[in-house]
Amino acid sequence: MSVKPQTGPKRSTRDRLTRRHLLQGTLGAALGATALGTVGQAAAKPANPRSPRKLLLLFLSGGASQLETFDPKPDSKYGGPFRTISTALPGIRIGELLPHTATVIDRLAVIRSVNTGETSHFRGHYLLQSGRKVPGYPVIGSAVARLLEGPADELPGYVSMRRHHPQAYTDVGDAGFLGPKYEGVKIIDGKPPANIVRPESIDARTASTRERIRRLSDTRFLKDRVPRAIRSYAESYQKAEALMRRRDIFDLERESAADRQRYGEHHFGRNCLLARRLLESGVHCVKVTHHDWDAHFENFHWQRQRCLEFDRTFVTLLDDFRDRGLLEETLIVIVGEMGRTPRINYYGGRDHWGDAWSMAFAGCGIAPGVVLGKTNALGTEVVEGAVDAGDLFHTILAALKLDPKATYNVGGRENPVADPAAKRIAEVLV
């Protein structure tokens, strides 16, 4: 498999969507299904020049409420109980649950006009990470791992962090047709992959012999078989092994107590701190899942609880990245799989809403201080600057200086890295 810049005609808007593009999109899934057997056998020569840029995806799983965060409607009957607060951008107000974020909003680009129309957690998780509705494509973490891959890479390109329980829909989608090599290594509860470290009772020589036998067995087993499953296992093992050689990264005790406290002693805080250590160590993309935004019941209790964790940790992270010079080379994306209904149900909850919601960018490639898009007075519809998941995918690639029009060569066929029917959001890019 290889990646090369797309040389075909430029189609930058959905208005120019042609039958060919539609076929390409559909074909992608078919390719994904058929290409798995050949992925990895093709030459891996990235056509993109190596970018030093990194991606940190802060995924608000379950769907944060845009009305309690970036797009409050205090005068609407659906506005909810909370007030708005002024921000570092004159004239821009956000929900009072994000007081720290309000002070740094001039360093972000906020989009208030995401319209994916998707209200399923499972499909939403895939859509927002792959930029596609058609299954089989790699999520952004896997794509970035592939596109930024370099010969000196020691660690896996993509690491995904979440809590052990519940997994729910957080693991939906992954490397797709790129194959297991680009699957995200799962870090559960901030712990390094289990059962990799040599037990003390086994000496180094015995362990080495055991490993040699394991590899020989794999090779023999592969001779007469379709190699996918074995390769998947081997590559996953190797990636986990590489991470374990650097298990010092997971030792947050190496950080000062003050820093640990600033990030927060909760899952999200610890995972954000670990994310920084992973990115500093050479991982190209880290996804940190912040759980439990799915507030069908007593939304205002839960949005407050979630924002309490998110707000301070995020601003701590942003400052820390800036102070370390990491922000110049790291794109931070704050997004979930959907927003929440403007209407409030009888249980005080907000349900799933895909038609009008918000997300934010910060860091490299991003024009700071931009607030893009507008929803109507009730917050039910986008009235200005609608963007969808495909556009966000293009924008992430563009901010990382990766060519959204490049293609993967999968089994001899060219397949666009990003949906050709979508476009980058120029207003939020420098």
């Binding site: 009957k77 909370f82 729910a168 507030a295 839960w302």
Partner: protein
């Protein structure tokens, strides 16, 4: 303490009147004189209704949804029962019922022996004097809780207790709204408060750990903890705990501490009983009100108590006796019942309800129910 409430038959409870409001309601409370109903909900307005005439004043003193309220009445305050038929409206209210800030010399002059305290979800707490021609603001303060969830007034009318999203319990002077003390042992939001009738203790329930803490008022010390884990309500799919100690009450004989909520996702609301002496849970009363949660619990001097519940688009009242696991009676009301108050006359109940299409409430009502003599 002598019984002031008449003998009533809760099993024959019936709807007398319903008052309509523009917002889905979450709380209601009758003032100590029995005349004024304070209702709040999904609106920044608080609605003050004259129960005799049905006239409502919609006031803008609060900054967010009014979800909690409490009252205190001096022993000599006369209680008026709601008129069975609407009476002529009272004279128009003064130009402004409202006034923000702490108590002033003027507001102290107007102070009466009948007070209502209302709290909203961004932390504003307002005390209203209610024995005059119209209720007037005594003081209005910012409690600093972030989200204010619960308020109670001490039996002697000296203290107001508040609890909320910051996990703190704060005590205030009812006279002027000045801070008295802060109690800080909860590690999660405080959802319920009750001054113990002995006048020496405060009880507070949380949402997260599902505990009830007993505080000594004089010292501010936590002296005991009740474990209400049966009100824990964890949903694994989203890792959200829907539980919590939603309300607390003491039986009139002082033997039992009661609390309510629900114990599992999509399961019925329930009540837990604790022996006051030993602190042990002695009984669990489980309703058959499907997919519900009991938000309020009102103790009647006759010895029974009432819970109001919210189900899937429905609301119900449940009547219980402490010693019986089975209910005395239950009654469907017109919508999800978030608020409940026992009228000081002991014969009427007020229920704050939501209404609207399908699963989304867009209006509210207060149902005035009568428990006829008997029992």
């Amino acid at each position: 303490m002598p019984l002031r409430m008449p003998r009533v038959d809760p099993t024959a409870t019936k709807l007398l009147r319903e008052f309509s409001y523009e917002a889905p309601l979450m709380s209601c409370l009758v003032d100590p004189t029995g005349r004024w109903c304070f209702a709040g909900g999904r609106s920044r307005r608080i609605y003050v209704t004259d129960l005799n005439s049905g006239v409502t004043e919609s006031l803008e003193d609060h900054e967010s949804w009014v979800v909690t309220s409490a009252r205190w009445g001096a022993d000599d305050i006369a209680v008026v029962s709601p008129s069975p038929e609407p009476l002529p409206p009272p004279p128009p209210p003064p130009r402004s019922l409202s006034r923000s800030g702490p108590a002033t010399a003027d507001s102290k002059l107007q102070q009466t022996g009948a007070v209502v305290v209302t709290g909203d979800l961004v932390g504003r707490l307002i005390a209203w004097d209610t024995a005059g021609q119209w209720p007037l603001v005594r003081w209005s303060i910012e409690t600093g809780h972030g989200t204010l969830r619960t308020v109670a007034v001490s039996g002697d009318g000296r203290l107001v207790a508040t609890g909320g999203g910051d996990g703190l319990v704060r005590l205030w002077s009812l006279t002027d709204g000045s801070p008295v003390r802060e109690l800080a042992n909860h590690t999660c939001p405080v959802f319920s408060t009750l001054f113990h009738p002995d006048g020496k203790h405060l009880l507070t329930g949380d949402r997260g750990e599902q505990t009830i803490r007993q505080w000594e008022l004089e010292t501010g010390r936590e002296v005991r903890r009740f474990d209400a884990q049966d009100l824990s309500n964890y949903k694994g799919g989203t890792d959200i705990n829907y539980g919590g100690v939603r309300d607390i009450a003491m039986t009139t004989d002082g033997r039992l501490l009661l609390c309510c909520g629900r114990n599992s996702y999509a399961k019925p609301g329930l009540i837990l009983q604790f022996d006051w002496k030993t602190g042990k849970q002695v009984r669990k009363q489980v309703s058959t009100f499907t997919n519900s949660i009991f938000h309020h619990l009102a103790m009647h001097e006759n010895g029974f108590y009432i819970t109001a519940g919210v189900g899937a688009q429905t609301g119900e009242l449940w009547f219980w006796k402490p010693e019986q696991e089975e209910k005395l009676a239950s009654l469907k009301v017109s919508g999800p019942a978030y608020g409940l108050d026992l009228h000081p006359d002991g014969r009427h109940l007020l229920v704050a309800q939501m209404g609207g299409p399908r699963t989304y409430g867009d209006r509210g009502t207060v149902g005035l129910y009568e428990m006829p003599p008997g029992g």
